[in-house]
């Protein structure tokens, strides 16, 4: 009789240790920069499409970009940050990644 694989793995001590190690690393931020030509509604639509954030969160981020010149729109692992940055650039926004200070 074939053995049944568990659907959910229980946490082990090593899992917890590696999780702590990841958390203590400085994250990478995806930054979106302001420009004088992009319509505000377009920025909101792009954030919604790429990140799936709520309308309110997208509007808040767009306003931060507009008023402060830039906003951190996502933070986390470097590869994902670069992937999101590329998606934003493909959608025509000025975006970069930088390590959290």
């Amino acid at each position: 009789m074939p053995s049944v694989q568990p659907l959910r793995f229980s946490s082990t001590e090593s899992d917890v240790e590696s999780e702590v190690a990841v958390i203590t690393e400085r994250p990478w931020n995806v930054i979106v920069w302001n420009d004088p030509v992009t319509p505000m509604t377009v920025v909101v639509v792009i954030f919604k499409r790429i990140f799936g954030y709520s309308n309110n969160k997208c509007t808040d981020l767009m306003l931060t970009v507009h008023h402060e010149g830039r906003a951190v729109v996502w933070s986390g692992q470097r590869e994902r940050a670069e992937s999101y940055c590329v998606k934003l650039q493909v959608a025509g926004l000025q975006a970069t990644v930088e390590r959290d200070a």
Binding site: T38, E82, G92
Partner: protein, 143 residues
């Protein structure tokens, strides 16, 4: 009051209500983006290849290639669907992305990096920018 240029229908498709002149203007924009992605000498080429990680000497080549392919792919899909009366979601997203890439490239190559610069630019250039903004504004309202 003029009618909408784009309208989301009940079946989810987006209706394009542009006349021939409007489609002609958009065709020119899409063609510029595709040419810029393929031709390193094109004036927009650098703006399409902005740094991903400015603190690094070189960006990951895979990320740069992905960006290049996706921008070109969006522009190609946009050109292929230029005559369509109805766009599906993917096609409309390609239009929006390609228009936005063109708008930002126009601003970058003309040094329009502030509101003051934008307000004092040549009238013909400002007309082009306002036209692209209008297309984008109305298309974004469908998402």
């Amino acid at each position: 009051m003029p009618g909408k240029l784009f309208a989301r229908r009940r079946d989810g498709r987006i209706e394009v209500r542009l006349n021939d002149a409007g489609r002609g203007a958009i065709r020119e924009v899409f063609a510029h983006v595709l040419a810029a992605e393929r031709d390193p000498e094109h004036e927009w080429h650098l703006s399409l290849n902005a740094p991903i990680n400015p603190s690094s000497d070189d960006d990951d080549p895979l990320a740069s290639l992905t960006r290049q392919n996706e921008i070109a792919s969006n522009a190609e899909l946009s050109i292929m669907t230029l005559k369509e009366q109805y766009l599906n979601d993917t096609e409309a997203w390609a239009w929006l992305s390609t228009l936005q890439v063109a708008l930002r490239s126009t601003a970058v190559v003309n040094g329009l990096l502030s509101d003051e610069k934008l307000e004092t630019c040549a009238p013909e250039l400002l007309d082009d920018i306002r036209t692209m903004q209008q297309f984008l504004f109305e298309l974004a309202a469908c998402f």
